[in-house]
Point group: C3
Chain length 346, copies 3
């Protein structure tokens, strides 16, 4: 494992997904969030526990160790840590003292919700807020497909890509939108304190494979793209009362160079879920693969040229809002509310 540089932009007091629930079993798990290497394990009562992944003694990763009786034991000298990060045993030492701060591992609050283990980004504090909840997971008639992967890109570039409409007809040409731009649609962009939203009005049902699945009869579709601080991108399509597709994606920035992506596709369709599921996964996989390539090349370029030099147009609907909201969150400030409209050929 190589060194992970910390990201340029760090959001404090925020929840990020550290892993899926079923990734955290009997062994310690190493994950990095915003440049911080963490070790996750199940401590007292099987509660997901997150500590800084560095033994306070000789700095080896605690994730090299093992879980013994719901405590984490370091592989080098056997120091044992409990669910709070306190060092409860130093083998061989005559007088143990679990209250010694210098022997504690930094502790990060956790929540286990919706099939994910969330970690709070500021250590050793009581969280000021709660994690984002994924919608419709258990609602009647909805099916869910989950995917996890890593992109070689920073947080805002990854989220912008997910919420960006115009690239789909080029990068994913043929999969859903086509390059011929015949329709003009209206877009309303709204920015709130902790999230931003774009509403696409008058959009025809998507063509291609995705369109045939979502809206076999065609017609106008309701389409919203949303960003929730600090790490959620959501794309929602509705076609009448019967078709509803939401892709909600949690992005966990490991560093400026790597972002772990947890995508949850939830849908209710006129056809049965078991019929649709086999088609959703390969299409999603192909789209993600194309996006991964372009994001990696973009990141490489930004490094090569020593920084971003982006020129935006009004078609960059949510990307600039994502960057603005993240910068405010990193500084602990809140932007003014905002709304504007534009037109787009699609």
């Amino acid at each position: 494992m190589s060194a992970v540089p910390p990201p340029g932009l760090v959001v404090p007091d925020a929840w990020f997904v550290a892993c899926a629930t079923d990734e955290l079993r009997g062994k310690p798990l190493a994950r990095t969030i915003q440049g911080k290497p963490l070790v996750l394990f199940r401590g007292t009562k099987n509660v997901a526990t997150a500590l800084l992944d560095r033994c306070p003694h000789r700095n080896v990763p605690l994730s090299m160790g093992k879980v013994v009786g719901q405590q984490l034991e370091c592989a080098y000298h056997g120091w044992k840590f409990d669910h709070s990060g306190a060092c409860v045993t130093v083998p061989g030492l005559m007088e143990q003292d679990a209250s010694l701060k210098s022997r504690c591992a930094e502790h990060y609050a956790t929540r286990e919700l919706d099939g994910f283990v969330w970690v709070y980004s500021t250590p050793n504090v009581e969280p000021k807020n709660e994690p984002f909840r994924f919608p419709h997971l258990n609602d009647a008639g909805y099916s869910t497909v989950r995917r996890q992967f890593v992109v070689e890109a920073g947080l805002h570039a990854s989220i912008e890509n997910t919420l960006d409409v115009p690239h789909t007809s080029f990068l994913h040409g043929g999969l859903f939108r086509t390059a011929e731009k015949k329709n003009v649609i209206d877009v309303v962009v709204r920015r709130h304190a902790n999230h931003a939203e774009a509403e696409f009005i008058g959009e025809p049902a998507p063509r291609g494979l995705a369109g045939r699945i979502l809206a076999p009869g065609g017609g106008v579709v309701q389409h919203f793209d949303r960003f929730f601080l600090p790490c959620i991108a959501q794309v929602e399509y509705r076609l009448g009362a019967r078709s509803h597709l939401m892709t909600t994606t949690a992005f966990t920035p490991e560093s400026d160079d790597f972002t772990r992506v947890y995508a949850v596709v939830t849908f209710k369709l006129p056809v049965p879920g078991w019929l649709v599921r086999p088609f959703v996964a390969p299409v999603a996989t192909r789209i993600f693969a194309q996006d991964r390539v372009v994001l990696a090349r973009q990141r490489e370029q930004v490094k090569r040229f020593g920084g971003e030099k982006f020129t935006s147009t009004e078609l960059d609907v949510l990307g600039p809002q994502v960057t603005l909201l993240l910068k405010h969150a990193a500084n602990g400030t809140t932007p003014d509310a905002h709304e504007h409209r534009l037109q787009m050929r699609t």
Copy 2:
């Protein structure tokens, strides 16, 4: 592709070879010159076009894209650029404006001559001079062998190596000169505003394989080594009116660490060209391979020790002149003319 650091020494207002003519066909081609990533493609009327290889929109490499109707289309959002770097189409945008500077890609002047595409090192300007011309390419009785390769070395180390006489009997021992130094020859070194030259007087015909090809009867040979700013090294041998061998090499510094080399061996010999060609290529290939190894190790050492620490003797005939001329060219100044003589055992 990893990040290419810019070279320590950058020559403005100068022509470098970007690629061979036959490398530039229907697809965009990525090349780096003096740390600048460029994309080459054939624009209007098939003219070779060079732009900075970064889309002004989201910074992905334009070389990821494709050529559509003599315009270059970005792979991410389909922005299209013409032969001048102007952005002629932003797909989906209601009002196009090709005159917007912020959407233009930086443009570099090109020339296509002697089988090469040359690029001017200063962007967005009218060139103040024209590229170097390769001699005798189309002259009656001359044959030509071309080779392209990349050395892990900077510009001046690569050129010094090509124009350096004393290393041949050691690094290339057996191929032409031998390590026994019996002959004393005179050398005249001349430095002009834009080039330098060494004339070797009284040199015996080279021994070994190269000697037997070039001068089967032996005798005194005329030998000149030359450097032309910013990137040409030339080695010329004459033996009477019948044997004439010129190796003219264009060096394109990608960075301090990598230099692309375009070698052109042009020769007229007492034996037919078709008889000689099969022997020239493998000998040249072996010499280049040996030089590549030593240059890579030299560059590695310079990095390891944090810089060059060279001790020269008068046998380093042209190397110091190359460095001096390049430094003047980087600063936009011109050195005084200079001439000196020395003797060398060979």
Copy 3:
């Protein structure tokens, strides 16, 4: 070979092992000590010679060259260097001058002792002291096993690991000590000007395989751990007059990231050496392998977090003494003598 950054801590006027005697034969050998790339070869009268591995002419590694008549010849231009680093020949030059300082290669004093070639860390000076001597190599009844390997770790972390008692029951669990800590022993720690020592009093004979070999009848064992500046770690076990085991290890820091380790296990046992030797090597190999892994991960963590942040307890008996002695040696100072006692469960 990639660039080796110099170590953070450099000890001047000190001897380090550069190679084993039988590694230095007819070819030049490249080794790095404290960030300095050196070339070793056998010069006049076959004496081991150490020079800076950089030709003063064009900086290529002299280790690329060859030994010709007990002189080292550079591969690029054939410059020849003698046992003192003087450049005795520049091929082709009319007037040779071996006294020119600018053409000399930096020279490092050497000693060949106990099967090792030692190099003095300060160039171009007369050594102020002599190398450490390995004990009992030729004493009657003693057998010796030697091993050489490289760890991805700095000097003090490597030495601390070798002299550290508490990690053995965890990292090497099962091999000798067990994790159950039933016995309490006394430890006396003594620090002198140039070395430090820990004496373990009342230690039971080690269990497991090593114990059965060393002390088949059980009983109390004499155990000393020692560090000698700048690079020797020694572990000594005695059980009465018949069992004696010494592991003396020379550590050569190539950089902060890599340390070359020369381990010499010397032992006299109640059973014949030829019977024991087949068991010592695989056990030692397994222990070294486990230590190598943990040291590499520790080093990686220290880089990742931008520095060490160690919390010590009194069980870290010699590690802090090693660090203190090395810092004094790097500064050319001498620490006060010191002694303290402690108890340890083992």
